[in-house]
Point group: C2
Chain length 369, copies 2
């Protein structure tokens, strides 16, 4: 599989939903496989909250492959011998695309909290500019889970001619108060940490251990990614230390899991980027500029495939099912497939239980539209 | 309704499950109504994690009545013209009973982290000592929700002769990894806060605003107390500020709710007490000293009434249903009533939706045993 990583620089301004402007911006992206002559074999994959452009393959010396590697590659479900897959690091993130800690060319300083609030729509518009530059007029399919699913839904509404097939996993049409509440833990953790300094932190100050309170917010996220059932299966009431005293008072396996995931994450992700991205997630509401959900999704021309997961505690299956029933009530049941996967893994399933849903992606990619 | 508040001082040592000893201890408690001559009209009510002895009534100048006031009082479901209700502040708490910040009589210093780890069984044993002192040989009923339900279950297993009727709400027989994970947010928040000083804090240092990171842990708790459904109903995607700009980027109502509940709580609860109580909750497992759940609950002689709530995201209805089916499989279905209340309020329902479950408490109290 051929992998190309690149950064695209845009000198023309990006007009944001807020009315503010990004004078210039950059997008880092990765491509797997090769575009055909007519550029009609492109599949866009959107990453989730903390993901990056690196969706597949493994660089030399890298211990972990890209975040959706089991699905993307030569001979895999998203077969890079036929398709050219492209994944763009979202605007606001900290893996090469422009975000709050990017250095402003004029001032030579990061914008930090002066960076404008972004919406999913802004992120999508920036990506459309990249696709235009690459000469991609139409995507064979677009696919995304969680925040990536929001991008996919937004793109299919706002650029209805762009993608023939839209596959959304573990996502919603509007972020509910439950998810906003989870994000709130992270926000409060970050902004109240004395080392955050109202955004004027020096990342070197917490290089070694990360911003601890950020880690705690991330731990809360890790509860929402799993479910009571998956936790019972994965951890039960097992203790990490098992001699007599510890059995009574020691550390639980689930506690170690949360420590590990929280603290390691805080070392590799920028707190300001996190704040901006969860803000974009919180304000995401595909009905916002429309009268109703129906009025919004009536613009979609693509064939929709919706994959939700039983026990998803962040975006409930009912939320995606509502997109389906709304389309059905509009007489468009032929344009939407919905499946709720019998998972005990919760929200994280779209990054874990590939064998439970890859069939539906295959089917969606093979469908005539 | 007659209210009596008192502190009982115990000079004899309390031998703890850990093998450690509390040389002396105090329990603060409150009584509503009057004991009859034979002391056969006593109903014990156990409070939850952050509750206190103040279960009912309203003191002069107090804005909020006791935490179960709608149920306890003259002519109410737990009728204090007939019953004498007693509620004891649990050991380890910070409302008058002995806890980590209580001043040691010898050293004149609080024990802080040298305070011994307590179990639910220890808390219950201390209360049994108080009841013995008060001459209460037998309770008409014992009632508790959440951590209070753990105390009730523990008491009915370890002191099977004590209560005739046991009513448990929104609780479990063993704390699952999901609940332990929620508690972990609070633990990490507290111990990583520089002002916590490894337990050697001076409460006056954060008297005004509370320990901020503790507030964040409490916010996580508040997610678990509600449910996606109750949050949708209560908050939806409503903004607090609603002019044009804020509607896009402002604060959500659910965020304000979490701020309010988190920060106000941190001002009134002691962080060390919180650590000790959630430790007791985490290690609670009614099967721990037995071969199985069956082997544990076979000791219960009381009539059990189990009330769980649909959408309880902390202790799932299935956990209480398992107590019921286990008793049924032992041929004791006549000794247990189980109901799952159709609530969209989640865990908090036992402190809110009184009209949905008070009938079952009434029925349990009227039952012949």
């Amino acid at each position: 599989m051929k992998i190309q990583t690149a950064i695209a620089h845009f000198d023309e301004p990006l007009y944001l939903e807020s009315g503010r402007i990004l004078e210039t911006y950059e997008l880092k992206y990765e491509m797997y496989g090769e575009m055909n002559e007519t550029k009609s074999n492109v599949i866009v994959v959107f990453h989730a909250l903390t993901g990056s452009y690196h969706a597949a393959g493994r660089y030399e010396g890298e211990t972990k492959a890209g975040w959706w590697d089991p699905l993307i590659g030569d001979g895999k479900i998203i077969d890079t011998t036929h398709f050219c897959v492209i994944c763009v690091n979202i605007l606001g993130s900290c893996f090469g695309s422009t975000g709050p800690m990017s250095v402003n060319v004029k001032t030579k300083e990061p914008l930090r909290l002066k960076f404008p609030v972004l919406t999913i729509s802004d992120m999508v518009r920036a990506q459309m500019n990249l696709f235009a530059r690459l000469g991609i007029k139409e995507a064979y399919a677009i696919i995304g889970g969680s925040l990536g699913g929001m991008q996919g839904l937004c793109m299919s509404i706002e650029y209805p001619e762009f993608a023939k097939r839209v596959i959304l996993l573990a996502t919603t049409y509007a972020t509910g108060p439950w998810a906003i509440a989870w994000n709130k833990i992270a926000i409060e953790g970050i902004v109240n940490d004395p080392r955050f300094k109202n955004g004027n932190y020096n990342p070197e100050d917490f290089e070694e251990e990360g911003l601890l309170s950020f880690a705690i917010g991330r731990m809360a996220g890790h509860i929402s990614f799993l479910s009571p059932y998956s936790m019972n299966k994965k951890f039960g009431r097992n203790y990490v230390e098992t001699d007599g005293l510890y059995e009574l008072f020691g550390r639980f396996q689930v506690e170690r899991y949360m420590e590990y995931n929280g603290y390691s994450f805080a070392k590799r992700f920028d707190p300001l980027s996190y704040l901006y991205i969860i803000k974009a997630m919180n304000i995401f509401d595909a009905t916002r500029n429309y009268d109703s959900l129906e009025d919004s999704i009536k613009h979609i021309k693509a064939k929709l495939t919706l994959i939700s997961f039983q026990g998803d505690c962040l975006f409930m299956p009912e939320e995606m099912a509502l997109i389906k029933t709304t389309l059905e009530n509009m007489g468009r049941s032929d344009r939407v497939d919905y499946v709720c996967i019998d998972s005990q893994y919760g929200h994280d399933a779209f990054l874990v239980e590939y064998d439970k849903f890859d069939f539906y992606i295959k089917k969606a990619l093979e469908s005539k539209v």
